[in-house]
Amino acid sequence: MSMTATGRPSAPIGASQPSGITFTGNKGLMLEEPLIFERGSPHETGVDLEPVPPHTTRLAGLERSAPIGLPGLSEGETVRHFTRLSRQNYGIDLGIFPLGSCTMKHNPRLNEKMARLPGFADIHPLQPQDSVQGALELIHRLAHWLKTLTGMPAVAMTPKAGAHGELCGMLAIRAAHEARGDARKVVLVPESAHGTNPATAAFCGYAVEDIPADSRGRVDTSALLARLGQDVAAVMITNPNTCGLFEPDLKIIADAVHAAGAYVYCDGANFNAIVGRVRPGDLGVDAMHINLHKTFSTPHGGGGPGSGPVVFSAALAPFAPLPFVEAADGRFHLIEEETATAEHHERSVGRLCAFHGQMGMFVRALTYMMSHGADGLRQVAEDAVLNANYILRSLQDVMSAPFAASGPCMHEALFDDGFLKDSGVTTLDFAKAMIDEGFHPMTMYFPLVVHGAMLVEPTETESRANLDQFIATLRHLAQRAKAGEGAAFHSAPHFAPRSRLDETQAARKPVLSWMPPADKRLAAE
């Protein structure tokens, strides 16, 4: 083959041209990686442990003798295995992650560093309280931030994630009703709510009734007010709601709910839009969880861990769960079951989980809050809302934004699939085409109140240049879809580590753990 002076072919390559198929299945930096069960062996290990000293066993016949089936790898091979896997993942660190309702913002690395200080990470939850005063002080300080930012008098720190916080709040509501001998059975949930809301209410033993949305994407206030009565225990409402809109009637609703003897639970998943600008306490909310992994940027970690502290109104505060931290006499006290009665917290619903909550997330969230300060957090909300409106107004002419006419959105912009009508392209196709352009798709098909929903939450940590590129890309894709290039969308993504995965097969014949190929064949027969 003739080459140029710089070593490039001087003519098109013929039959020897790479076909797209390689011997290894790898393609340059895109490396295929088998399962550890296919590459390791039970005899291989990546740790060196001290020899076991002679001893007489105390297991008396209960020793595990049969093989367990756990392969090991050397340290180097372990690092390679998981590094290769990591490269098949999209993360915020790679680009915009506009997943509506999830608040995928930059995760500052100072948060990670602080959470790893041995004084926070390497302490045991049952150490004597005098030996963990710094940890209790941190929880107390974070509680102060949360109460101040929400304008609420009390906070429960132990819930482990948003849905666990919902459970905490709804249990307190149920306990409050029972304390006055009022056994109410119904919880009202707007149809735009996160699925966790009705699931939580049902988990607490309530019957769930939907409240429709109005034509402006808000909860239908008159329908909600009309449904209030002696049997309604609470209303669960998300504000800003899942259409990315502020519920302007929340205070009116809250007053009516209270007059009817019920409580307002607010899903605080979207607190990022209003932090520092609006205090939910001023809107009549009785309980609200705060997803520290959303608003306060403790990382999502591929699905967790989260942390979902719940702020309470004075009416519900006595029912808050155990344990909690109190400051007195220059010390920080952990109030647990034992001290609860003495401390007049005997009406608490009790304990929600072992120990004292997600300490590692507390450290990250407090680090984030201190870094921003009260002024920075207000700027967070403003920039998050600004970015979302910028996207909404820059795309509303080529995509369809069902509630754009009703005014500004909050921190997320909602589109439906109206603009794809007759193009043969679905919301799913459109999302997969975004993957080829190097973006994580937005939330698809949620909320349920619009058809083929696409919910875009850019967050405040995206620059204008990033947004402009994102907007230009979506405009381009929308125009291609309308121009009849549907086929390219149906088969997208083309450039991801995998093309579209068969979810039907996965559910019909679930394979949930690895089996040797021979066993798998047997199982299939």
Binding site: T56, G119, D130, L171, G301, P321, R500
Partner: protein, 461 residues
């Protein structure tokens, strides 16, 4: 502000694009009385990284760090050495800053490790399948009780008094409202020496019983053979739920699956996660094939892509809240994703050989510590059959002994009174966990401290 990229000029230009005069125009839907004119008072303003770090480091220094002292606490949280590569790998941004893998084409990294995690947990527990994690062991146990109710359609659950009291309390909190009946007793196994309460529990199983919940090793460290109990439960159409709070024990003790468990839940923090003052930890949840559709939480399954290549997706999601809403098996959404990655990496580094070695090392150190403590005059051993945790009775109240030892720089276990404050019988009981992190010098320091504490209080009493 270092995390906010918009400049003042950007903001102005963007407002112009939007057609708004000021940022306040975007908050018009907020009622006037709820609008805050400026930053909320009573909180500090923006702070440079260095100062935040300095302030929090000062707070961290006020705590007694486990690794700096002879350390013997367990009771649901165990201190093990975590290899350096675990923390390095979980901090890769592609793992750390990713979301729940709802777009599987660009989340195969997360999905594949979840599949590996599920397989490892299933094998460790001796079950067919495991889910992609729960919040922690305690919440997993409550979910198991509800799952058993869905399967058996019965409402009564018998809970062993050897179950961690926090786990029991978490279940009681919910069951108070769901109508599930929980039957439990006081820890009879602590009438010295402890005895199995298995016979007592078997006698209580009847045709209304949905499940029996046993912790193994239990909260006092006692290890039991649950096979007979499993058979008795099954004979009545009830399920056996086994709780494991120390997963390293599964490298030494016959698995719950081998003993006949129907659901196994556990706390996985021993591998990869660390103490973390109690959270985030890692809830494990495993069962057999026939019950998989009643499971709570996410499940990752194998499938193929459009080109026939193997890949992984979240599956059976019709059990979950985002599809089924009020009919879901659980309300759980966010779980312990990154902690399950840490677990899987640590487990991969260990392999079966390493896990068995680690478990044996834990057992040997615990045996040595137990024998040394039992030789102290006035100390009575309460747990003849144990893995790496055991209970002893002191001649003095254990709570004060723990505080006094801490004053002497030794974190010498958990007093039973911290967990069962209402039981005077347990006032003098001390529970100690001994892992591979404990050195000979640590054991010497413990023996010295305990001897001194007992001695001084004995003579003072």
């Amino acid at each position: 502000m270092r995390y906010l990229p918009l400049t003042a000029a950007d903001r102005e230009a963007m407002l112009a694009t939007i057609g708004a005069d000021s940022i306040d125009d975007l908050f018009v839907d907020v009622p006037a009385e709820a609008r805050f004119p400026g930053p909320i008072a009573d909180l500090p303003m923006v702070m440079p990284e260095m100062l935040v770090e300095r302030d929090l480091a000062r707070l961290a220094k006020k705590n007694m760090v486990a690794g700096d002292h002879p350390f013997f606490l367990g009771c649901g949280a165990y201190r093990h050495h975590v290899p350096a590569s675990v923390d390095h790998l979980i901090q890769r941004g592609e793992f750390l800053t990713s979301y729940t893998p709802y777009q599987p084409e660009i989340a195969q990294g997360t999905l594949q490790y979840l599949f590996e995690f599920q397989t490892q947990v299933a094998r460790l527990t001796g079950m067919d399948v495991a889910n992609a994690s729960m919040y922690d062991g305690s919440t997993a146990m409550t979910e198991a009780i509800f799952m058993a109710r869905r399967i058996t359609r019965r409402g009564k659950t018998i809970i062993s008094c050897g179950v961690h009291p926090h786990y029991l309390h978490a279940a009681q909190t919910l069951c108070r409202f769901t109508g599930d009946q929980l039957v439990t007793g006081v820890p009879t196994l602590c009438s010295a020496p402890p005895t199995d309460d298995l016979a007592d529990i078997i006698a209580r199983i009847d045709s209304d019983t949905s499940a029996v919940v046993m912790q193994n090793p239990d909260c006092f460290g006692h290890v039991a053979d649950l096979s007979g109990l499993a058979a008795a439960a099954h004979a009545h159409g009830a399920l056996l739920i086994v709780v494991v709070t120390e997963v390293v024990s599964l490298g030494a003790i016959r698995s719950p699956g081998e003993m006949g468990a129907d659901i196994v839940v556990g706390e996985g923090q021993s591998l990869g996660v660390g103490l973390q003052f109690g959270g985030p930890h890692l809830g494990l949840f495993a069962c057999n094939h026939k019950h998989v559709r009643q499971m709570p939480g996410r499940l990752c399954g194998e499938t193929v892509d459009a080109d026939g290549r193997r890949g992984f997706v979240l599956t059976l999601s019709t059990r979950e809240q985002h599809i089924r809403r009020e009919k879901a098996t659980s309300n759980i959404c966010t779980n312990s994703g990154l902690m399950s990655l840490a677990f899987t990496i640590h487990m991969t580094l260990l392999g079966e050989t390493g896990l068995r070695h680690l478990a044996e090392l834990n057992h040997a150190r615990a045996v040595e510590t137990a024998d040394r403590l039992a030789a102290i005059p006035g100390v009575q051993m309460l747990t003849p059959r144990f893995f790496n945790e055991f209970a002893i009775r002191l001649p003095v109240p254990a709570r004060q002994a723990v505080r006094d030892m801490a004053e002497m720089g030794v974190l010498g276990g958990v007093s039973a009174a911290r967990l069962w404050p209402q039981l005077p019988d347990l006032e003098n009981v001390l529970i100690l966990a001994v892992t591979e992190t404990v050195s000979k010098a640590d054991i010497d320091a413990l023996v010295r401290a305990l001897t001194e504490v007992i001695g001084s209080e004995y003579s003072g009493a």
